[in-house]
């Protein structure tokens, strides 16, 4: 068996590849559902219903999708420039902490400014905190050739320990009965609800508009060209006049900033304080979502919603039939592999002799 490069890829292949990937994913997952002893059709129906089947299900899915879209964008912009930022998880926590530090002071001890000043300041602080966490690894990569996968990944653990220390120390909520959680945001800094009586908040609009802005930046501007060119071929980009180091710094600011905003928006829209378990791995899921979306910012919206839907739907499905929620992880992981292989097969053909 060998792979041969295709000379031409038919337009139909670009449509059929993702469809084939989805079908493959459903078939593979169906085997596991059968193994668990549940009826396949009903399980998938329940999953779909639990994700999108009611106003409640849909709003829960979109609430879950909000941070996933933001971390997905963070990974997408970084990966476009071949800056492999695995540290979105840590950057998300850094942003959440910064948001609470600016907007969460209690009883008149903190900033008593107008929310019109404080809210932008809070978001800016969160973005800068996330960006600052990525800037070091990015510069070390650009200047010294230090592998950013290692540095960003390890910074996640440092960040988690720092969060833990702060939640038991200076940022601890005195009213939390000993739970490690931070002080809460001032009430008027919280994001308003998008649909009353649900958890869906205006953070979704932030995420979607940031995706559109990122798409415009990448596709329509000179810095966007720089990012794409530097990622695809840094030598050729430098020859054509792209300032490589400046571009790496810009990418670090964008990627870290987006992950930081994910943290701030989670705090302002959903939790209102920081806990150690506020992110069930949103930063890592962002990588999967970015890859599913082919690193396209608008695709990230769809991929983020898909992953959120599978996670939320699986929760409700597992309550009805006896299939563990882990099936959600299997579906997401299988779909990623299937999409990557399908993408490969649009470029290469398999010869069996």
């Amino acid at each position: 068996m060998r792979l041969e490069k295709r000379n031409h890829t038919s337009p139909a292949a670009y449509v059929l590849a993702p469809v084939g990937a989805v079908v493959f994913t459903l078939v593979v997952s169906a085997l596991l559902v059968l193994w668990a002893g549940a009826p396949v059709g009903q399980t998938y129906a329940l999953l779909l219903q639990g994700a999108f089947g009611s106003v409640f299900a849909l709003t829960e899915t979109l609430t879950r999708a909000t941070p996933l879209i933001l971390t997905g964008l963070a990974a997408a912009v970084a990966f476009r420039a071949r800056l492999f930022n695995i540290g979105a998880e840590g950057q998300l926590y850094a942003g959440a902490l910064a948001a609470v530090a600016v907007g969460g002071m209690h009883g008149g001890t903190g900033l008593e400014w107008s929310p019109y000043v404080l809210f932008p300041l809070m978001m800016l602080a969160a973005a800068l905190a996330g960006a600052a966490l990525l800037l070091g690894p990015a510069l070390m990569k650009a200047r010294l050739g230090v592998d950013e996968v290692v540095t960003t990944l390890l910074l996640n653990f440092i960040m988690l320990l720092l969060v833990s220390a702060l939640l038991d120390g200076p940022m601890k909520d005195p009213l939390s009965m000993g739970w490690p959680q931070s002080v809460a945001l001032q009430g008027d800094l919280e994001l308003s609800k998008l649909v009353p009586q649900t958890r869906l908040h205006t953070g979704l609009l932030w995420a979607v508009s940031l995706a559109v802005m990122l798409w415009a930046l990448l596709a329509r501007t000179v810095p966007g060209f720089d990012i794409r060119a530097a990622g695809a071929n840094a030598r050729a980009a430098a020859f054509a006049g792209v300032p490589i180091t400046r571009t790496v710094v810009l990418v670090a600011l964008l990627s870290g900033g987006l992950a930081g905003l994910a943290g701030a928006i989670e705090v302002a829209g959903r939790t209102s304080y920081v806990t150690l378990d506020m992110s069930p791995g949103y930063g890592y899921s962002g990588i999967v979502i970015a890859m599913l979306a082919g690193l396209h910012p608008l695709g990230v919206i769809a991929a983020g919603t898909f992953v959120a839907g599978v996670l939320v739907g699986a929760d409700s499905m597992s309550r009805a039939v006896g299939v563990p929620t882990y099936i959600a992880d299997v579906i997401v992981a299988t779909s990623l592999i299937a999409v990557l292989v399908a993408g490969l097969l649009t470029q290469y053909r398999v010869r069996w002799k």
């Binding site: 295709r6 000179v222 060119a229 071929n233 050729a236 430098a238 006049g241 002799k353």
Partner: protein, 546 residues
């Protein structure tokens, strides 16, 4: 070749398709014992595919291969090696930090043998080297060898493994004329001892000189097969291209004017052997200065320096009187057109579309900046229009403006790079800047190289003042070579100073108004081309006193 000569290799009806593209169309060839067969053809004619099938990298869709009377199983490089096929690639596959002996042994010993049988191997290597007149010292580090010596190691490596059929891919591309002569002597010795050789080249003169028989591929088909004796270069070229070729006419510079770029005692920090050592050079408007030399003697440093991607460690470089800044964007703004050596790795960003590559250098100037957002928002329509004009004027053909640049063939990619560098966009006010004069090149088949744009007066606003062309015709087919060379001559006549760095001596002598030779970081004095003989250049390339 007489009837009694044994046939050692027989390719019968080899056909290979990649999707709709037919790369080899029913090609049948034979090779006799003691014969040199030259395989000739333009890029994309199917030479590499055919050799890859022979060597087992590809599997043919139809046809069969027979070696020494036995069928060769398809798709197994090991079987090809075992059957006695040896290949010497154009780019050497040697480890610099190992000795000659280790390089020869590498891969030829079984993996699970506890000790290397070095003394046996040394004896065998020395015997082979003596048998074929290829002197070598087994314990020298490959990194310390000259290019000619490395090639000798590559050939020895194949012979050591018992190759009886040797494929040489463009073997003279990296050699001085004298080294090439030595190689031809070696080939004669090997053939005399019964080896057979397939010699791939595009230099027509040497093809006729070394081979017994010539096979020409064109558009995937075998179009001609003839004994070398009695065949002329003109005939070969006609077979390759499909129509008669007029040789580029040497036109001397008309009017040499003021100096544009001056290098005074310039040295650069070494990267390997490639560096500049106390180089001085003056490039004047309206003149082509051609730099000859074996590659790796400082040409990369010189090109990098004038392309803004490397700075001088000592000495002065000035461009139109001002010190040269080591920034590509600055050079582009000053009217320097740069054509890099490696068009795939440096010339284009392969994953980005053709149109973005066509404007890549100009995005930072005033040309495509949006009036409200200065150098931020790209004026896409203007940029795409310019890309369209570049493609039309320079006859870039391929999948269109939105196809990834990597899908272009080498010749079209080079035309794109050339057009990007030479053709100034319309200025910010919307006035059309002057494009360099495009003369109709040699006949281009059914091509009409002039697109919508009219040839304009030369020497005008926006045209490049300095052109740095590093190996601009390397690996191109004859039509594209002519086109590129014509562009350089036209730009010179339009008043540009041109620096042409080339390994190809014919090109240096055909285009250079003044010629200088580079060796080990030193640059000889740039003398008028008439003052050089081929032999003198060859000696200077090898490092003899200038």
């Amino acid at each position: 070749m007489t009837e009694s000569t044994a046939t050692v290799l027989r390719l019968s009806g080899i056909t290979k398709r990649f999707g709709k593209l037919v790369a080899n169309d029913s090609i049948s060839l034979t090779l006799a014992r003691g014969e040199v067969l030259a395989l000739l053809g333009e890029n994309g004619a199917g030479k590499s595919t055919l050799m890859s099938i022979l060597f087992g990298h590809y599997v043919a869709d139809e046809g069969s291969i027979e070696i020494f009377g036995k069928p060769l199983p398809p798709g197994q490089p090991r079987a090809a090696l075992a059957a006695g096929i040896g290949m010497v690639h154009q780019h050497f596959t040697l480890a610099d930090n190992l000795t000659v002996l280790d390089n020869v042994l590498l891969g030829s010993e079984p993996l699970w043998q506890p000790f290397s049988r070095r003394s046996e191997a040394r004896t065998k290597l020395l015997a082979v080297s003596q048998q074929f007149g290829l002197p070598i010292s087994p314990d020298a580090k490959v990194g310390s060898l000259s290019v000619g010596e490395r090639q000798r190691v590559e050939i020895l490596k194949a012979l050591y493994r018992g190759a009886r059929i040797l494929i040489l891919d463009e073997p003279t591309a990296v050699l001085t004329p004298q080294e090439s002569e030595a190689l031809f002597d070696t080939l004669a010795q090997m053939v005399a001892q019964g080896l057979s050789i397939i010699f791939i080249s595009h230099k027509l003169g040497e093809v006729l000189r070394v081979s017994h028989r010539v096979a020409v591929l064109r558009q995937s088909k075998l179009v001609a097969e003839a004994p070398a004796q009695g065949t002329t270069q003109g005939q070969l070229a006609q077979w390759m291209v499909g129509h008669a070729i007029e040789a580029a006419e040497r036109r001397p510079a008309k009017k040499v004017r003021e100096p544009i770029c001056t290098l005074t005692n310039v040295s650069t920090a070494p990267t390997g052997r490639d560096r500049l050592n106390d180089v001085s050079l003056i490039l004047r408007a309206g003149e082509i200065v051609a730099i000859a030399g074996v590659s790796g003697n400082g040409q990369v440093a010189l090109a990098d320096l004038l392309c803004g991607v490397r700075s001088a460690s000592t000495g002065q470089v000035t461009l139109r009187g001002a010190p040269l800044q080591a920034r590509p964007a600055w050079l582009v703004s000053q009217g320097v057109a740069r054509i890099p050596e490696d068009r795939h790795a440096v010339g284009v960003v392969g994953d980005l579309p053709v149109w973005e590559n066509a404007v890549a250098e100009r995005l930072r100037g005033p040309w495509f900046a949006h009036p409200w957002f200065r150098v931020f928002w790209v004026k896409r329509r203007a940029a795409r229009q310019h890309a369209q004009r570049v493609a039309e004027t320079f006859d870039v053909r391929g999948g269109g403006a939105d196809a990834p640049a990597r899908s272009l063939s080498g010749g079209n990619m080079q035309k794109l790079i050339l057009g990007r560098a030479l053709m100034p966009p319309q200025d910010a006010a919307g006035n059309s800047a002057q494009a360099p004069r495009i003369a109709a090149g040699p006949p281009q088949g059914d091509a009409a190289p002039l697109g919508g744009s009219e040839p304009r007066a030369a020497g005008s606003v926006g045209a490049p003042v300095l052109i740095v062309a590093h190996q601009p015709t390397w690996g191109l087919d004859i039509g594209a070579v002519m086109f590129v060379q014509q562009q350089l001559i036209n730009a010179r006549d339009a008043g540009a100073a041109v620096l042409l760095i080339s390994d190809d001596l014919d090109e240096v002598l055909a285009l250079g108004d003044r010629v200088a030779v580079m060796h080990d970081g030193h640059l000889s004095e740039a003398r008028p081309a008439e003052g050089w003989t081929r032999e003198a250049i060859g000696l200077a390339m090898a490092g003899a006193a200038h």
